[in-house]
């Protein structure tokens, strides 16, 4: 019951400015759905919230977090659909792919970077590259493990004078390379300007059939027995890891009339060996800037002393 009460209080707070309702009323609506109709709590909450939205003649976007959002660092955003405040610099602006998007790009603060989307219908002022803003009331979102923030019509935008040193979220991970995933090895990318999508059977998902440009990359998985980390090697890092250069890879594929021989060769040369990599985090990946092959003899003594002490 106390759980319902907490949710009721949160909903009540969101509407306390617009509607004359009391917490008991909210709680009883939740109670009916959850305990009588056996609706999952999350769905019940959505339903009750929507009911009040209708009564108040409001849009979901108008809601906000009921004031008093948490001010968070970008790297700490790890949950979708949270209302938060951030202070961030516009690191990069990208070309919106749809008319419904006014601006899209990358925000950064000391802790790292995150993608942002600003909807056209939200009618907000233009953000400028390299400028720093206090952004109040943005909503977090998640797609395939990558987080972003969305600016909506309740978002407040205030330019800030001070500059921010944007952190690149660099991480170092080590472990055994336990997998090289599909889409690794010798690949072709779409040649259209600013596209660079990886072609599937000679087709770009955006530009259709195109004459692709060869590239090397590896999407791999490092595993230390406790955790897994997906990592991406770009052409340079792939060449360093495998010793196979782009021209050589093209020759190999040409000889075999098959590009998959390149990835096979790379697997045989790298899987099941230990590496330490360092680079910026991008979504669920670490991009490998720095590679260390852990092939020096290991010292068993420390482990032995520890093992004997238990």
């Amino acid at each position: 019951m106390t759980d319902l009460r907490t949710h009721a209080e949160e909903i009540h707070e969101q509407f306390s400015d617009q509607l004359e309702i009391d917490v008991e009323d909210v709680e009883s609506r939740l109670d009916t759905l959850v305990n009588e109709y056996k609706v999952p709590l999350e769905e019940a909450r959505r339903s009750v919230t929507n009911g009040y939205l209708d009564e108040a003649g409001m849009e979901r976007d108008d809601l906000g977090g009921g004031g008093g959002n948490e001010h968070v660092e970008l790297a700490d955003i790890d949950t979708a659909e949270q209302w938060v405040d951030v202070t961030a610099k516009v690191v990069d602006l990208w070309e919106p792919r749809s008319d419904s998007i006014a601006q899209v790009g990358l925000l950064g603060d000391e802790s790292g970077t995150i993608k942002f989307t600003k909807w056209a219908k939200s009618d907000l002022p233009e953000l400028e590259e390299e400028h720093v803003y206090d952004l109040g009331n943005v909503v977090t979102d998640e797609y395939q493990g990558n987080y972003s923030v969305k600016l909506n019509r309740t978002t407040t935008i205030e330019e800030v004078e001070e500059d921010i040193e944007v952190g690149d979220d660099t991480r170092t991970v080590e472990g055994a390379l336990v997998d090289i995933q599909n889409g690794s090895g010798l690949i072709k990318r779409c040649p259209e300007e600013g596209c660079t999508r990886v072609l599937q059977n000679g087709r770009c998902s955006e530009h259709g059939e195109v004459d692709g440009e060869f590239d090397l990359r590896i999407k791999g998985v490092l595993d230390d027995g406790n955790e897994v980390q997906e990592i991406i090697f770009d052409q340079e890092a792939t060449e360093e890891l495998t010793g196979i250069e782009l021209e050589e890879a093209k020759d190999m594929a040409m000889d075999a009339l098959d590009t998959t021989v390149v990835a096979d060769e790379m697997r045989a040369a790298t899987l099941g060996r230990y590496y330490r990599v360092t680079g910026p985090t991008l979504g669920r990946y670490v991009l490998v800037n720095d590679l260390e092959i852990l092939d020096e003899p290991v010292d068993a003594e420390q482990a032995l002393i520890k093992a004997r002490s238990i």
Binding site: E142, G225, V228, L271, G272, R284, P297, A303, A307
Partner: protein, 199 residues
């Protein structure tokens, strides 16, 4: 939090413990839900990573190729690896490799019951690659550390559900696995001492 399915971590385990891991279970009723073996030190394993000495390969298939590989760890205990037509790369590697050789194996634990009613535990490889001795040694140290971490958790007061499950399913003293970890580390030290002694 994330809705993307998370990849299963590859457990580090010596053959002595792995071959005792005869109890399997699923976390959901879904037909495609992953199958886990329960390690006697109280952890679930849907994937393991092994580096050891491939001592023997044999095509044990009847109608089609079915390769068996024996991979021995420093304690002299054996991992059994089986690769057939559905693991063509691994099968080809076993066909081509000349034992003895150090190999890395990433694979899934599998169990089957013999006619006598014993449960055998084996590995269905996702990949097998030939590696060098330093990689093997690194694995031994890492596997000893992970094993001792599991034993520590097993013996702590805050038992998690897999530790409890191991207590219920097995009657195996974890001391055996502590000894396996210790002996494996000692074998590396012996090698080192022997190497230093010879000019």
């Amino acid at each position: 939090m994330s809705s993307t399915p998370t990849r299963e971590v590859a457990r580090r385990v010596f053959a002595r413990e792995f071959n005792d891991a005869t109890y399997t279970f699923k976390e959901s009723d879904d037909e495609r839900a992953p199958v886990y073996v329960l390690l006697p030190t109280g952890a679930r394993a849907n994937r393991i990573f092994v580096v050891g000495t491939l001592t023997e390969t044999e095509d044990v298939g009847e109608d089609s190729e079915y390769w068996q590989g024996r991979i021995v760890d420093p304690n002299g205990d054996t991992f059994f690896v089986y690769a057939g037509q559905y693991q063509p790369d691994a099968a080809a590697t076993l066909r081509e490799l000349e034992p003895p050789a150090y190999v890395s194996v990433v694979g899934k634990p599998r169990t089957y019951e013999t006619d006598e009613g014993d449960v055998n535990v084996s590995v269905r490889p996702e990949s097998i690659t030939s590696v060098d001795e330093t990689t093997r040694d690194r694995w031994v140290v890492e596997t000893a550390e992970r094993t001792l971490e599991r034993i520590k958790r097993f013996e702590s007061d805050t038992a998690d559900e897999y530790v409890e499950m191991a207590g219920e399913q097995y009657d195996l003293p974890v001391e055996n696995y502590r000894r396996a970890a210790l002996e494996a580390l000692e074998s590396l030290e012996d090698e080192e001492t022997a190497a230093e002694a010879s000019p």
